[in-house]
């Protein structure tokens, strides 16, 4: 948790409820992790909900769900719901799912990457 005071005026519960149509994201087919990488397949169609259009504009290059949430100032849970819609409409694709735990090859790759920092 940041030591700073993060004032957040726009994202009260009522507004978030409206953005997601009252959904909580529990029913998402493809569970999205904080670090799932997302990439847009097209730009926002005309007349799209502003929050979803903003997501598509952020996804022109691979970007994690956590970064999308941070840049838009929306909770991860809300972004997950919006991304679920965009996935269903095939406007975005996910590129990364969370790899299995304790995969030795992956661990070695992370070690090599860190050592080169």
């Amino acid at each position: 948790m940041s030591d700073e005071d993060h004032a957040w005026h726009e994202a009260g519960p009522e507004r978030l409820y409206v953005i997601t149509g009252g959904r909580s994201g529990e029913a998402a087919k493809e569970p999205l992790d904080l670090v799932t990488l997302v990439i847009a397949r097209s730009g926002p169609p005309h007349g799209m909900q502003p929050e979803q259009a903003a997501i598509l504009r952020l996804c022109t290059a691979p970007i994690s769900v956590a970064e999308i949430a941070a840049y838009l100032g929306l909770p991860f849970s809300v972004v997950s719901v919006l991304l679920g819609d965009l996935l269903a409409e095939e406007l975005v694709v996910t590129r990364s799912t969370v790899p299995p735990v304790a995969d030795m090859g992956l661990i070695k790759e992370v070690i090599r990457g860190l050592e080169q920092l």
Partner: protein, 206 residues
């Protein structure tokens, strides 16, 4: 800039945009009490300025105890800072700094699911604040190491005394760190990864 905040929304700086080759992302969770240096550690090693993701905690989710003395509110906001390290052209590591109180962990659905592991950051001035965290990570089966953030003004304790005070099992690495320093932060992450490497060895090869 338009008046609609979502038309003119902030995004990554050009140099913070991941290359198109980025295809696999992994995460490490840094757990620690308020003011112990989680965000400092994340910021010291991150290639981007730490970002903040927030969740709204409703009263129903807040549990029975008070949340920073904020009562009588329908909802409050809890923040989690995170950073990013591109390890190679395809692999990206994210670091999330989360408060030690377990009730916060559920705000970010699956925070620990699929995490490589956790770094428990402790402050020798408040070791007792870490007992709960250690127990809960063990219960959850999340591999972890413990890093002692050695503030210049902190009393210096030998690591074996800290290990005893924490009642930490001998197979769990305990390292000292100055998390303001990038090389020290990197060493903490490498200590976790080497521990994961050991855990991933077949038993007979250890």
């Amino acid at each position: 800039m338009g008046s609609n905040s979502f038309d003119a929304m902030a995004g990554p700086r050009p140099q913070d945009v991941l290359p198109d080759s980025a295809s696999v992302a992994v995460k490490i969770v840094v757990v620690g009490g308020f003011g112990v240096g989680k965000t400092t550690l994340v910021g010291a090693v991150s290639e981007i300025s730490p970002l903040t993701t927030e969740e709204t905690m409703t009263q129903a989710g807040a549990g029975v105890d008070d949340l920073f003395g904020v009562e009588e509110k329908d909802a409050t906001t809890v923040a989690m800072d995170f950073g990013r390290i591109s390890l190679n052209e395809r692999l990206v590591l994210y670091l999330f700094g989360t408060p030690g109180q377990q009730r916060f962990w559920f705000l970010w659905n699956g925070l620990f699911d699929g995490a490589l592991g956790a770094v428990v950051l402790v402050d020798t001035r408040r070791l007792e604040a870490s007992f709960d965290v250690l127990g809960r990570l063990e219960e959850a089966g999340v591999p972890f190491i413990v890093a002692v953030n050695q503030f210049p003004e902190s009393p210096v304790h030998p690591l074996d005394e800290i290990r005893a005070a924490l009642d930490l099992a001998p197979d769990i690495p305990l390292v000292g760190a100055d998390v303001r320093r990038r090389d020290s932060g990197k060493d903490v992450l490498l200590a976790l990864l080497r521990h994961l490497h050991d855990l991933a060895q077949p038993l007979e090869a250890r």
